[in-house]
Symmetry: C2
Subunit: 115 residues, 2 copies
DNA sequence: CGCTTAATACGATAATCTACGTACTACGAC
DNA sequence: GTCGTAGTACGTAGATTATCGTATTAAGCG
């Protein structure tokens, strides 16, 4: 695994993560799709932004990842030319027990109904 | 209990309720406060819009109740001059099991931390 | 009927959000 | 150094949002 680059990315600390912000971040279909994707990775695994195929422009993708990061939903690190993303599962589970899983299950249920 | 007035209010059916819409409705502090208030009522109880003291103008309150209703989070009926509100607990629990309770618990946890 | 209370409708405004394209930067490979 | 890949920054357009004040409607009461 290549080391992280010097470029730093601002992440909210656990104390700074707000429920409203998390809910807002999750209330967009594109961002929900990103979170769903990341949630399927094995524990500890990361994915590059480009790994998720979204039907939107690249710059818009950047925007959505930023919203997720600033809300405290994902963590991002640069590795080479890639920016790797991971869910902040542990942090979210500590702050808001069960929230992430419940939302993901709700999302799965909705997709089952409407697909 | 007075009967409901003729004035009808549009509510989404269960099939029309979208997870994204629910999360968005819950991602506003004022609306979260309304939902918190309604969640504390005994099962089946309703509250008038005016029962909840919000630090905003009355017309803004109307707006937030409407967002909650259109997202499928609350149901509203006119009774006399009042408009009674209740959480759509049963519907939400059927569609998205555990979501409402988990969000309410997360909200309580956050308040415990930051108060 | 006229008064009061509860809530709405309307119109305005300022902020925020999503989306895009284009130009740019950082990194790794050659 | 040059090239390709990954992602950012910036400016912007269009939509939605949150807020307000004022005028208005509906219901119940005397």
């Amino acid at each position: 695994m290549p080391t992280a680059s010097v470029r730093a990315l601002e992440h909210p600390t656990c104390e700074e993560i707000r429920l409203e912000g998390v809910l807002h971040a999750l209330s967009d279909p594109m961002r929900l799709q990103i979170v769903r994707y990341l949630s399927r990775l094995p524990e500890g695994e990361e994915a590059a932004c480009s790994a998720i195929e979204l039907a939107i422009a690249k710059s818009t993708t950047t925007h959505h990842f930023r919203v997720l990061r600033e809300a405290g939903v994902v963590s991002q690190v640069y590795r080479g030319t890639a920016k790797m993303n991971a869910l902040r599962r542990r942090d979210l589970d500590t702050l808001f027990p069960g929230l992430l899983d419940t939302v993901l299950r709700a999302d799965a249920a909705q997709r089952r109904r409407t697909d």
